[in-house]
């Protein structure tokens, strides 16, 4: 038993080394004073400097955040309402809605991207008489579309765990159905809604493929900018960008964990 636990520890460590090697390389070479992404010639912060001078990158970062916030808010509202609505449907209706909801999750991103692109081009050409429709709005619609299933799937379990007698009790005590929903059901499913929101936000920030197909050249998010930067053999400034993103993600994860640990403690009390 001892031996096998030693082996399993070694196995875990080996896999983690492999998983983290490229990330470590990224971080180390972001501080490289030379131009190379493979030979380390000395410590410097020059790539961070050039990063913060690059207006296009800052602009892309701004676009990404605006897009993530808007698409997460809209998809959370629509998705939560959808999850509530779906719970009232008859079984066969629910089956149809749920199969359609699964489509964006089952389809490869490239197919979702292509199908939305064709929709925009088709509508632009045949209904609006304008072929240059791609841009912020088409990207926003696309992001909401691929976020929605994840929001619905996060809210549904919370809704199922919610006691229906509670909202009945609220109405017996004089609440309107709408009032009962906002005062009783909504607080009860808030964790599911929050999970859905965070998921939508991160999916939106991370998406490249669908944005790539639906943005035209008119609107650039950070992943799009990275794609354009890595088209050529580039300087290590992209490593500086990656490092900053890794650090941000780490901080966020730590914060979320502290937050969760706290709310767990509260619940136990």
């Amino acid at each position: 038993m001892k031996l096998s636990s030693l082996w399993s520890k070694m196995y875990l460590i080996l896999i983690f080394i492999l998983l983290y090697a490229p990330i470590a390389v990224m971080v180390v070479f972001s501080f490289n004073s030379g131009n190379s992404t493979a030979v380390f010639s000395g410590f410097s912060l020059r790539w961070y400097e050039s990063l913060f001078k690059d207006r296009a990158i800052l602009n892309a970062l701004y676009n990404t955040i605006i897009l993530a916030v808007l698409s997460a808010i809209i998809s959370t509202v629509l998705g939560t309402a959808a999850a509530v609505g779906i719970s009232y449907l008859a079984k066969w209706q629910r089956k149809i809605v749920e199969s359609v909801t699964n489509i964006p999750m089952m389809n490869p991103d490239i197919v979702t991207g292509v199908s939305l692109l064709l929709l925009y081009v088709f509508v632009g050409k045949n209904l609006l008489g304008n072929s240059a429709v791609l841009g912020f709005w088409t990207v926003l619609i696309s992001h909401i579309t691929f976020n929605l299933p994840y929001v619905i799937l996060s809210v549904q379990p919370a809704l199922r765990g919610c006691d229906t007698h509670l909202s009945e009790a609220a109405r017996d005590l004089g609440c309107t159905p709408v009032g009962a929903f906002f005062r009783v059901v909504l607080p009860a499913i808030s964790t599911g809604i929050l999970t859905g929101f965070i998921m939508a936000f991160t999916l939106s920030i991370d998406d490249f493929v669908i944005t790539y197909f639906t943005s035209g050249n008119a609107f650039e998010t950070l992943p799009m900018k990275i794609y354009n930067m890595t088209k050529m053999k580039v300087k290590p400034d992209i490593n500086a960008l990656s490092t900053l993103m890794v650090v941000t993600i780490l901080l966020l994860l730590v914060l979320i964990n502290i937050f969760e640990a706290r709310s767990n403690k509260k619940q136990r009390r």
């Binding site: 309402a81 959808a82 359609v100 389809n107 490239i110 292509v114 088709f122 890595t230 994860l253």
Partner: protein, 274 residues
Amino acid sequence: MNNKKSLGAKLVGAPYYLWAAIFTVVPICIVMYYSFTDSNGNFTINNLGQIGAYMDTFILSICLGAVATAICLVIAYPMAFIISQMPASKQRIVLILVMLPMWINLLLRTYSLMNILEDEGIINNILSFLNLPAIHLINTKTAVVIGMVYNFLPYMILPIYTVMSRIETPVLEASKDLGSNWFQTFLRVVFPLSIPGIMSGITMVFVPSVSTFYISQKLGGTMELIGDTIDRQFNRNNDFNSGAALSFILMIMIFICMAVMNKFSDDGEETIVV
């Protein structure tokens, strides 16, 4: 009263039903429309007919995707098992470590991998430092498979871990009490119970692997996978009709794979119930 409520309740979901119809169902119909028309909008089956010319690309994508999925499964299965056997407090930390790379954009991970695998990259620098002969990895199928495995491994570990962590210790103890050794317990109890996780892991790795285009562009050189062909038709050749036809076939192919997978995992669940 009841009728009113159900009408109101139905309206709550209506905006989403409308959204899903316009932005999920209609686009798929439009993909079909483009697949079956030429650039003037006349009916044709030429787009689908010329798929034969891309057969090799389809086969290459499926093969590389399948190899990457198999490697992920082999690596992830023991990993998921080991994690599920750890004390709960440690499990949480290890899981965060598994998920963290997923939060870093795929483009960045792949780009970094490229710097490692290049002819004058880090692996070869280390090899030459040790006076070993250099190995050529970049722009090979091996490099593309490494890229897929590296990027999608967490998608295999997590679902398998999830089903394994639900297997309760009394079940394993019962199996031991009934005279099974460790290997028999694994083969007859743990493995059958983990099949649904394996199936969702396989789809979660196979689908993005088959349809990728960035990984093959960065690590495969001039190699073209089906995703690259679709990208080329849309973004360079402006041949939307042929691109739509390729996407349509890719979609059908993946739906068939999923249906087969679902069938298998359903069977798995049934045997558990029995």
